[in-house]
């Protein structure tokens, strides 16, 4: 699209400085992590036996396919959900949103419960026809299935927000013109969504590229492994730190390429806010297609999650609820998740408002790159680097566990937050930049009077995302000595490691319920708060 003339953009030196400082700080942190590992590598590592090119090729293929499929599925689902109104729609949307933030292993086992060799589908087929198809849940197909369920649902949620925000007048004109379903998609929907696609695609690519437990669980063997596995092995088994840093840099270089391509594309203005136009349903084949897509989507996406809920309501539930450790872990999760979400919000606003304030292509890339790059750093390298950094600072690892988890989770959620808040912030500046300039609003007024009220729902969505995400990943404190620091996901994994599958299933179900509640409640709540603040 056409570059915005810089004269439209309000001058915001402070936003630029904030975003630059943050981008530098994140880049510095990544550099420090790698440097600390290099410094700890005492001798030159053993010759790495890893066939990097093979791994890179396989990983890139898998991640590329995941990205394309997830975007297509996400588009189709968002399109269907935008058009259809039915009882329980909000719940379906919340369920879709929760897929990406639920710990990947939980979703993967949910998928197996439905699609596995001994899953519902195979058992139903066995009972009805006396024959069961080959399970699609293993091999490259299985990896793609799991990734698309996780990431396609996320894409659908983000794209649906863009569709729901289309200006009512636009819809009135379109409906009055009697646009066909195809024309409507091309003229109204596509322009509203396409600005979001590059950033979304990049995130999905990175997630798939660095995916580890799911790839091993469903991959069926070493043929489908990712570079991340080799890095884990170099750090943990071989203790070949030089080799690990070398592999990590390779992974980061590939990911950086993808991020750069994605951030070079200027997002298209997509108006924020909600649409309250009258219902405009498509007719004929489109409606049938939408109903079909939604049915398939619900089977594919919701059933695995529903199966997690059903499994969790078994015998383990009462026992888990009766444990003091459970409530303690729940409290820890709440404050860790809540704090991480707030930190993520501040970081995301600083970076996104700064990026929206510049017109040039290069500054935009530079401001965004470090935030996304963090996703590309292998988890095991991060955990090692943070451990060494904390020790270098003279802190006891056990004392530093909570702040490190909060920082790590915030940085991990940051790309998602940027993908959620970035496009609407850009849209506001582009559409109302002239007005803001002519009124002489300062940055503070611009935020509180214009951006914040319009962003309420997006901020809620972002907070829900960051909150739930932060419940999930504890890999960064693997070495910290954290037997007293227990969150719900950690408690779940520990239960799994001690034969206690029923307890683990109950915790997984409770986590999922909490996630769905967060996704249903937070966007609604923040829309209310943001609008109330204007009265």
């Amino acid at each position: 699209m056409a570059q915005v003339p810089p004269t439209i953009l309000p001058r915001r030196p402070w936003r630029l400085i904030m975003a630059s400082v943050l981008a530098l700080a994140i880049a510095g942190l990544i550099a420090a992590v790698l440097w600390s590992i290099l410094a700890a590598a005492r001798e030159g590592g053993g010759a790495s036996r890893v066939d990097i090119f093979h791994l890179l090729r396989m990983t890139a293929l898998q991640a590329g396919l995941t990205m394309v499929l997830s975007l297509v599925v996400g588009l189709a689902l968002a399109w269907s959900l935008n058009r259809l109104r039915f009882w329980g729609r909000d719940l379906v949307v919340a369920l879709f949103s929760s897929a990406i933030v639920t710990p990947g292993m939980v979703v993967a086992f949910g998928i197996l419960t439905v699609f596995g060799r001994n899953g519902w589908i195979n058992r139903a087929s066995q009972a009805l026809f006396g024959w069961a198809p080959e399970s699609p849940a293993y091999g490259l197909g299985g990896i793609l299935l799991a990734h698309v369920i996780l990431d396609g649902a996320f894409a659908a949620r983000v794209l649906l927000a863009r569709l729901d925000a289309i200006a009512p007048d636009r819809l009135k004109v379109g409906q009055s013109l009697g646009l066909s379903a195809t024309k409507r998609f091309v003229l109204i929907d596509w322009p509203a969504m396409r600005g979001t696609l590059p950033g979304l695609g990049a995130i999905i690519f990175l997630l798939a590229f660095t995916s580890f437990p799911i790839v091993l669980l469903l991959g069926g063997g070493p043929a489908n492994q990712t570079l991340e596995v080799a890095i884990y092995s170099a750090v943990r088994l071989d203790f070949d730190l030089l080799g690990a840093v070398r592999l990590a840099l390779t992974q980061m270089a590939v990911c950086a390429l993808v991020i750069m391509v994605a951030s070079a594309v200027n997002p298209i203005a997509a108006a924020p806010g909600r649409s309250n136009a009258a219902r405009w349903a498509d007719g004929g084949w489109a409606r049938v297609a939408q109903a079909l897509i939604l049915c398939l989507g619900t089977i594919g996406f919701a059933l695995p999650l529903v199966s997690v809920l059903i499994d969790g309501l078994g015998s383990g539930l009462a026992r888990v609820l009766g444990q003091g450790a459970f409530w303690q872990a729940a409290a820890t999760s709440l404050w860790v998740g809540g704090t991480s979400a707030l930190v993520t919000l501040l970081l995301a606003l600083a970076v996104a408002t700064g990026r929206a304030a510049v017109a040039g292509r290069l500054p935009r890339i530079l401001l965004g790159l470090p935030a996304y790059a963090y996703l590309a750093v292998p988890a095991v390298v991060l955990s090692l680097g943070f451990f060494l950094l904390v020790r270098a600072l003279g802190l006891r690892p056990a004392d530093a566990a909570a702040p490190v988890v909060i920082l790590g989770n915030s940085l991990l959620s940051l790309p998602f937050a940027l993908a959620t808040l970035g496009p609407p912030l850009e849209a506001i500046v582009r559409r109302r930049g002239k007005l803001i300039r002519s009124l002489g609003l300062d940055g503070w007024q611009q935020f509180w009077q214009i951006e914040y009220p319009l962003l309420g729902r997006d901020i809620g969505l972002m907070l829900a995302l960051a909150f739930c995400f932060s419940l999930g990943d504890l890999g960064v404190i693997a070495l910290f000595g954290t037997q007293d620091f227990q969150t719900l996901p950690l408690m779940m994994f520990r239960a799994l490691g001690a034969y206690r599958n029923n307890d683990a299933a109950a915790i997984a179900a409770l986590l999922l319920v909490g996630t769905i509640v967060a996704f249903a409640a937070l966007p609604w709540l923040f829309e209310r708060i943001a609008h109330a603040s204007r009265r």
């Binding site: 069926g220 596995v229 884990y232 092995s233 203790f239 693997a478």
Partner: protein
């Protein structure tokens, strides 16, 4: 806000001062272990209670995410480590741990221990063991395989779940098991197993869940795994398949670090760990066999478990020198 923060800070500071003041009265023994060992339901809390009752000290568990994690942490910390001991390495990584030169000799007499093989290690003290084995559901699999070759000969739709030797201890154990039993034929065995391998997971827990969910027909685990289901779930249908070529064991060990200022206390802990009192805690918390003969004190669920006739082993030097090659060989064979 500000006043809340400063009050909170004051409370925390005061709390820390009190804790450190109390702590100075008696010595603290810091033990690194893996998180399952220190968990509420693991042996950690009871061992702490038992040892503190006799040592006049404080025992402090510090749990990393895995046993190899504890070793890596100590290696990274070097002489500045807080750890006095590590509990939870096994004989497959003991060789590598030894080459770090960080461990002191324990000086204990281990002659009275009841292990599948005699133990004469100067640095590492065993505290529990079990053999690696494949689990099966006895109500759906009437005739379990009696060897790797039996397993290979089963129809291809009989699937096993195993673990990656690069990320999970049992995965490494299986690799060494095949090598110890078949030597140069190991590659052939792996190629034969390939069609049966449903998947190679990162952790033991993921494989085991696949087995419990009915996704995999057999899973790589321990001969003691059935005891959990008998004791906690009253279910005796899950059994370990015994192989004629013998089984490779996992022997979990503890070691004292040279850098520890509490050498005597640490040795006292090792003595306690191998005493009948402490060993009685291990079976139903860590689900492994004790290393002393508990006689009637052993839970009947354990006493009734079938045991392999033959225990396999590999020279430590070979493991240190060749495990990377063996892993590469295995990965290539099942790729």
């Amino acid at each position: 806000m500000v006043s809340f923060a400063s009050k909170a800070l004051a409370v925390v500071t005061l709390g820390l001062l009190t804790v450190s003041a109390l702590a100075q009265d008696k010595p603290t023994l810091t033990v690194y272990t893996y998180d399952g060992f220190a968990a509420d339901w693991g042996p950690g809390p009871k061992l702490k209670e038992g040892f503190e009752a006799q040592c006049g000290c404080t025992l402090n568990w510090v749990a990393a995410d895995s046993s190899i994690g504890t070793l890596r942490r100590v290696q990274l910390e070097g002489d500045t480590t807080e750890a006095d001991l590590i509990v939870g390495l096994d004989q497959s990584i003991a060789g590598e741990a030894r080459t770090t030169g960080l461990f002191a000799e324990h000086g204990l007499d281990l002659g009275g221990l009841a292990l599948p093989e005699t133990w004469s290690d100067a640095e590492f003290v065993p505290f529990d063991y079990s053999h690696f084995a494949f689990m099966y559901h006895s109500d759906t699999m009437a005739e379990p395989p009696r060897s790797f070759e039996d397993l290979i000969a089963l129809p291809d739709d009989v699937k096993i779940a195993i673990q990656d030797p690069r990320s999970a201890t049992p995965g490494l154990g299986l690799l060494l098991w095949v090598k110890a039993a078949y030597g140069d034929r190991a590659e052939e065995i792996w190629k034969g197993l390939k069609p049966h391998i449903l998947t190679v997971t990162r952790e033991w827990s993921e494989s085991y869940s696949l087995f419990l969910e009915g996704e995999a027909d057999m899973v790589l685990s321990y001969t003691t795994s059935p005891a959990y289901h008998i004791v906690e779930e009253d279910d005796d249908t899950i059994k370990a398949a015994l192989f004629d070529e013998g089984h490779y064991p996992q022997i979990e060990v503890a070691g004292v670090l040279k850098s520890s200022p509490h050498q005597d206390l640490a040795r006292q802990f090792l003595t306690y760990l191998t005493s009948a009192e402490a060993q009685a805690i291990i079976p139903t918390t860590n689900w492994m066999f004790p290393v002393v003969d508990l006689g009637d004190g052993l839970d009947p669920a354990f006493a009734g478990l079938p045991q392999p006739d033959k225990t396999l082993s590999l020279p430590e030097e070979d493991i240190v020198a060749h495990s990377a090659d063996w892993i590469a060989e295995m990965l290539a064979a099942i790729q």
